[in-house]
């Protein structure tokens, strides 16, 4: 290969006589052209995210004594184990791999899901693949080009990280292992999403399915890691994000583990080709059943329509929340037991604040995560406004006797209400999961419900940012909304370890949300967050009134 990042299969797929792959090269070029902003942005975010944090770690934690506190908490604090994974070794490299390995892999996987679905089911649903399929293009060419683009992106990601991390002063072998662990996770989810795109009839549900698998993968490894030696630690071995840890970068690399994600990539791609060869264009695995010939009495007005349109996705999110936070809550029991067994750990825990403090720290980390993920749902639900508008489906509603504010508000309400529902689900599920395992389900459920709802005002601010963007900056609203979520992740999940100044951390609304259970709730701060969130939504709706639609 040359030094410039050339996609391996792109040029090679063009065959003179016209096989099933004819035109794949041209399609891959088209995909790269369409993604000329999105793809570099994704690569930039993942590469800069991992390497800038690695740089900060190298600077901040030079000596063993600098690292001691972080290493101690990394080895024993279940909340950290849950969020980041297991810490292997005590070198700077180990710390970097611990903090950013799983999350880097998570983002590489998200990038792959979005890329693949956009160029397969997304184009098919929009009718663009039909036009392409009528040209001299092989049956499997769109699939091949989508896989090639996503695989190429992960290859570039791996290669750049491989070059950058040693330059920051990390060992070469470990850097290579970490980069490969992240890149192969992206490849594994290329395989997952390419199959998901064959199963569902819509791009939205294909993305949902693939991201659902990603959620399960995160959960499996999180529970496996946090459960301790006596718990189900084998769970970490089951799915891709856990494999990223099991490569053990900077701590006796286990290179053979890289074969697991590669095998998943190969299996997923093979399955997708097999499914694609069997189904009709535009069809999913299950044919559409006929529906009602008339609308139910309740479907009368923009709010009912917004609920109807968003109901399915909210139900999916809620189911995911219920399982994730119930299982995570139940894992809290293992933590309580862990404290009792090991003398050395006991000492460490006492230093951190004793058993109840440790369990509370774990539970409040779960609630923070619930808040941020619920905010992500809220952003996706608010952005439905923009999707409806660009697809031309806002016109028939607004050409009815429906004001713009009412139309906009209907989706904002669904987004805010859905975010609240998800937080309630997370609180109840955690409370039941933890409470049933330690006895005291009633009290724990009430406590965790309160802790979860305390995250709502902060999530409301993030949703408000997206609502303001959808009203005032329709062209940029997708980027603005997701940047807000990304900033919350960056500041509240990685911010403290990076020793960022309080001024920077204060930007995120989640910095001002109470750390419950265990902390104290600052009512004034919560009220301010509510006021800001509502004001942002109102500004967005006001802006929507003043501009051109479509």
């Amino acid at each position: 290969m040359t030094t410039t990042p050339v996609l391996p299969t792109a040029g090679a797929a063009v065959q003179p006589r016209g096989g099933p792959l004819t035109g794949a090269g041209a399609l891959a070029k088209l995909a790269l052209r369409r993604d000329r902003i999105m793809l570099p942005a994704w690569l930039y975010v993942v590469i800069i995210g991992v390497s800038s944090n690695a740089y900060a770690f190298v600077k901040l934690y030079q000596t063993t004594s600098d690292r001691a506190a972080l290493v101690a908490s990394g080895e024993s604090n279940p909340a950290l184990l849950f969020l980041y994974g297991r810490l292997n070794g005590d070198s700077v490299g180990s710390l970097t791999a611990w903090r950013y390995g799983v999350w880097g892999a998570l983002f590489a996987a998200l990038m792959s899901v979005f890329l693949v679905v956009r160029h397969t089911r997304g184009d098919e649903e929009a009718g663009r693949l039909e036009l392409i399929g009528s040209a001299r293009v092989g049956r499997q060419a769109p699939l091949v080009s989508a896989i090639a683009v996503a695989a190429g992106a992960n290859v570039v990601l791996t290669a750049v990280l491989c070059l950058v991390l040693p330059l920051l002063g990390l060992p070469v072998a470990g850097s290579a292992a970490l980069s490969l662990a992240i890149g192969t996770c992206g490849l594994a989810f290329t395989g997952v999403s390419v199959t998901a795109a064959q199963l569902t009839a819509g791009a939205r549900s294909a993305r949902g399915l693939a991201i659902g698998v990603l959620g399960v993968a995160f959960l499996a490894r999180a529970v496996g890691d946090a459960a301790g030696a006596n718990g189900p630690s084998w769970l970490t071995w089951v799915l891709p994000l856990g494999w990223t840890e099991m490569v053990r970068p900077f701590a006796g690399e286990r290179w053979w583990v890289l074969a697991l994600p590669l095998a998943l990539f190969a299996a997923g791609s093979w399955l997708a080709f097999a499914l694609a060869a069997r189904r009709d264009h535009g069809a999913g695995l299950f044919p559409d059943r006929p529906g009602r010939p008339g609308a139910p009495a309740a479907l009368r007005g923009p709010f009912a329509l917004a609920v109807r349109l968003q109901w399915g996705s909210l139900a999916g999110w809620a189911a995911g929340f219920a399982v994730t936070w119930a299982v995570s809550g139940a894992a809290g029991k293992g933590i309580a037991q862990l404290v009792g067994t090991s003398g050395a750990l006991k000492e460490e825990f006492t230093r951190l604040g004793g058993q109840s403090a440790i369990v509370n720290a774990y539970l409040s980390a779960l609630m923070l995560l619930a808040g941020i993920v619920a905010a992500a749902y809220g952003v996706s639900a608010v952005l439905r406004l923009h999707a409806e508008e660009t697809a031309g489906r806002a016109d028939p509603v607004l050409a009815g006797s429906v004001g713009r504010v009412r139309w906009g508000l209907s989706h904002v309400l669904v987004a805010v209400g859905g975010t609240a529902v998800l937080l309630v689900v997370a609180g109840v599920a955690t409370g039941l999961g933890y409470g049933l395992s330690v006895a005291g389900a009633g009290g724990e459920t009430a406590r965790m419900l309160g802790a979860a709802i305390a995250q709502l005002p902060a999530a409301l601010v993030i949703v408000g940012v997206a609502a303001l963007a959808a009203g005032a900056l329709p062209d940029a609203c997708v980027a603005v909304g997701w940047t807000a979520v990304g900033l919350a992740v960056l500041l509240n999940i990685f911010g403290q370890a990076l020793q960022l100044s309080h001024w920077v951390l204060d930007v995120s609304p989640f910095t001002h949300a109470p750390r419950l259970p265990g902390g104290t709730a600052d009512v004034a701060a919560l009220a301010w967050l509510c006021v800001i969130g509502v004001a942002l939504c109102a500004l967005g709706l006001a802006a929507l009134r003043r501009r051109d639609i479509g």
Binding site: D288, R292, G294, L299, V402
Partner: protein, 307 residues
């Protein structure tokens, strides 16, 4: 009440491009008004301003006596709209969407009328919208509009995608709406459709109305096509106002400005007429002339600098 739609000097710019450049449009209450122009002339932009979806940059516009931007919600209860490119919610069925659109306008749908239209347009209302073809999506929007009791119907290229049978059904429906006293604004580039349905026509080009009036008025301004078999050849092409004359022996075919029609007929009868067909120009011919003129203008502009 006078005019359902009254727009003067409408201007709309999108960045550097000017979509509407001082457009005038008057639609009288109770008439079927055809709004004709090629793709990109500004028909849809005009309609979107009338619906209050876009904000005008200059000019005056009144819709059903109100301001389409300020009073949008109230006015929309009195009109029904069929967009040119109908996109529907893929997970809802056609029947659900018909009912929903009626309810969004503020009134329910009359069941008998709904049923009749669904049969007339041969639509399966229990299918999910994602399974509909372009024509079927169009039918959903048409049925929803026609089943309403709106005073004003706005159709943006309504028959694009319909088969000829459905096109005929659409024409029948519009004709019966006219008899029912409803006002219709019909944007189209299908001239036969406008010719069959419209009381008055506005032709728009590059964001300006270039001609407006009844078809009869427009034809008055233009030419008549003559096809004659004569006893002896006549050198008719020498007469000013005669165009495109083709003389093949005793057969003559030409287009004549209406101003000189009398003179031409006098000369023909002098020569002895065996057969004669005279017909007004089709809208097609009117239209072609407008755009032919435009391209000739453009050519002239290009040629002028050369001596």
């Amino acid at each position: 009440m006078g005019n359902a739609i009254e727009a003067t000097g409408l201007v709309k710019r999108f960045g550097k491009t000017t979509a509407l450049d001082g457009l005038d449009l008057t639609v009288r209450t109770g008439e079927v008004h055809a709004f004709l122009g090629p793709n990109g002339a500004g028909k849809t932009t005009t309609i979107r301003i009338l619906l209050g979806l876009l904000r005008k940059d200059a000019g005056k516009v009144a819709l059903l006596g109100g301001d389409p931007w300020r009073d949008a919600t109230a006015l929309h209860g009195r009109l029904a709209y069929v967009p040119g490119d109908v996109t529907l919610w893929p997970s809802l069925t056609g029947g659900e969407i018909i009912d929903l659109l009626a309810r969004l306008r503020g009134d329910g749908v009359e069941l008998a009328r709904r049923k009749e239209l669904i049969e007339r347009f041969d639509l399966d209302p229990s299918k999910k919208a994602r399974a509909y073809s372009k024509g079927n999506r169009q039918k959903v929007a048409l049925i929803a509009a026609l089943a309403s009791d709106a005073e004003l119907l706005i159709f943006d290229e309504p028959t694009a995608g319909l088969d000829p049978l459905m096109e005929a059904a659409f024409r029948d429906c519009v004709n019966s709406e006219r008899r029912g006293g409803r006002t219709v604004l019909l944007s189209s580039h299908i001239l036969a459709e406008a010719e069959a349905l419209a009381d008055r026509v506005t032709i728009i080009r590059a964001g300006r109305a270039v001609e407006t009036g009844t078809l009869a008025e427009m034809r008055h301004l233009t030419r008549t096509t003559l096809d004659a078999e004569l006893a002896e050849p006549v050198a008719i092409d020498a007469v000013p106002g005669v165009h495109d004359a083709v003389i093949e022996g005793s057969r003559l075919r030409c287009e004549v400005d209406n101003a000189v029609l009398n003179e031409v007929l006098r000369r023909l009868t002098a020569a002895g007429v065996r057969t004669l067909t005279c017909r007004p120009p089709t809208l097609e011919e009117l239209f072609l002339r407008h755009y032919a003129d435009q391209s000739q203008d453009a050519e002239r502009v290009r040629v002028t600098p050369a001596p």
